[in-house]
Amino acid sequence: MAQRLLLACGIALTVAGSLAPFLWFALTSFKTQAEVEAVPPLWWPSGGWHFYRVALFDHHLLAYVANSVIVAGSTTMLALAIGIPAAYVLARVKLPGKAWFLGGLLTVSMFPQMAIAGPVWRLLADVQGLNTHWGLVLPYVTFSLPIVVWILASFFRELPAELEEAARVDGCTTWQTLTKIMLPLAAPGIFTAAILTFIYAWNEFFFALLILTQPGKQTLPLGIALFQGEFTIPWGELAAASVLATLPLVLMVLLFQRWIISGLSAGAVKG
């Protein structure tokens, strides 16, 4: 009984703690300007969609959304395209030095962005990559590769080795084994890796700040961090923009919670 009570409290606290702060922000987005600046603050909004209209049309939020979609989408595709073969090889093929490679890769994911910011910036400058989406995608791919490879490698490792040997006896090359047999089977893992990469790229701030200086190219987090009004901080618009920026991810979590959890635990602990 006590156990059930404890659990109920735990559930309530978890849900409230996770959602309440953001809900407050979301409430703010439905207030009127006067309500936003009211002292003391008001609980219930009455402003409707005004701030959303302002955020979307006056602050060109849709352009930021489009940029984020392009960047996060291409990052995901490219990271998978590169990560899948690498993960497969690392999971399956006996290669000398493989352990070092995996360890090294893991270390890369720990690099502070600052440690590589300067040279990456110079590198991108040399190839005209600043202020381009692909210029941002490149470091994103680099930083999401470890997690992609890690998750996928653990997924591939879980798939029976027999299947591959069957494919080899049936005449498949390594590449064909990967594309015809392993890929369809690893679909759930790929999906998880894709979600995680997408979330990472959608949320990343440091490189975006560094690489995208042209407002037309900037991604959502940057737009939100550098959000500005005419004279004061436009909290209402900011809240509306934040809700819009977060909504896709919240939907993703609601829909794919199971995959995210299983993928992360597979990648992390079973490693």
């Binding site: 735990g10 849900v15 996770s18 990560g83 440690a115 300067g118 590449w175």
Partner: protein, 302 residues
């Protein structure tokens, strides 16, 4: 005979290497090379706004400068404090959340999703959100604490200690669920049989937690601890958006300090020295990580 067998095999190995090449290229050009380049840059004095100074080689002078600089020391202390405090809290909270979302109850999927939401909210958004919640005039924190006693409203970010704690709070809120995920994975690995054996042995709820769950969770906790340690060492967005490092450098974290040195002040050499130092700190931590847990992972992968 043997040679041809080897050849058949090494053709496969060659294919395998080719499949690694793109990942290697990315990792080397955009991670390994830059770190090396940063290190080389850190040996020069490069001040972009003063090309007249040239770019003299100064050896380790930038590092000496770093050691002398009280601001750098402050940034290091702030970062270390942030790492220690936030990871500790995240681990404790993450463990609690993990225990909750590991239990069986109807609607668990929704609770799990709810717990994950802070983790997917962009840090930039979360930072603005907390900045708003702790606003000195129309923040939720003041409303909850003081209601309409407006005169008592507290300017939270004005106190260095409080500003630092808010940054910790924002990080804990955002990433505890990630720690919880890792710990949850550990929980799932503990067989139910053990709990049943303990129940038969007469262990109560708390004793089961203390004698079974906690010791067996150690690897997962360690993993979460080190993941979080390394990640929180890189804190940047929170300080950048919420406080810009103030007040009085109370939230001046290393990455922000390095960023300012390099990109605001144009001191490429010195900024590189800062970033190389951050890198080394994290690198040694990750060595620790590999020693503590990774060796087991690597064995499995070998």
């Amino acid at each position: 005979m043997m040679k041809s067998a080897l050849r058949a095999l090494s053709a496969d190995h060659a294919a395998a290497w080719w499949m690694l090449v793109p990942a290697l290229v990315f990792t080397f050009t955009l991670a390994v090379y830059p770190v090396i380049a940063s290190f080389i840059l850190s040996l020069y004095r490069i001040i972009l706004s003063m090309p007249a100074l040239g770019e003299p080689f100064v050896g380790l002078e930038n590092y000496a400068e770093l050691l002398r600089d009280p601001t750098a020391r402050q940034a290091f202390l702030v970062t270390a404090g942030f790492v220690a405090l936030s990871t500790t809290l995240e681990l404790i909270l993450g463990l609690c959340i993990a225990l909750v979302i590991h239990a069986q109850f109807p609607g668990r999927g929704w609770v799990r999703a709810a717990a994950l939401i802070p983790w997917v909210i962009p840090t930039a958004v979360a930072s603005q959100m907390w900045r708003y919640i702790f606003n000195d005039q129309y923040g939720l924190a003041n409303l909850l604490l003081f209601g309409d006693r407006v005169a008592e409203y507290v300017p939270w970010f004005a106190s260095p200690g409080v500003a630092f704690l808010i940054m910790v709070l924002a990080d804990v809120w955002k990433t505890s669920s990630f720690a919880a995920l890792l710990i949850l994975a550990g929980l799932q690995l503990i067989p139910d049989e053990l709990y049943e054996a303990a129940r038969i042995d007469g262990a109560g709820l708390w004793q089961r937690f203390w004698h079974i769950t906690l010791p067996l969770l150690r690897p997962a906790l360690l993993l979460a601890l080190l993941f979080r340690t390394m990640d929180s060492f890189r804190v940047f967005d929170l300080a950048f958006v919420m406080t810009q490092g103030g007040p009085g450098d109370a939230t001046q974290v290393l990455q922000l300090y390095g960023y300012k040195a390099m990109f605001t002040e144009g001191r490429m050499g010195y900024g590189s020295a800062v970033s190389v130092s951050v890198f080394l700190a994290i690198f040694f931590l990750s060595l620790l990580y590999i020693r503590a847990i990774g060796s087991r992972l690597l064995e499995r992968n070998a």
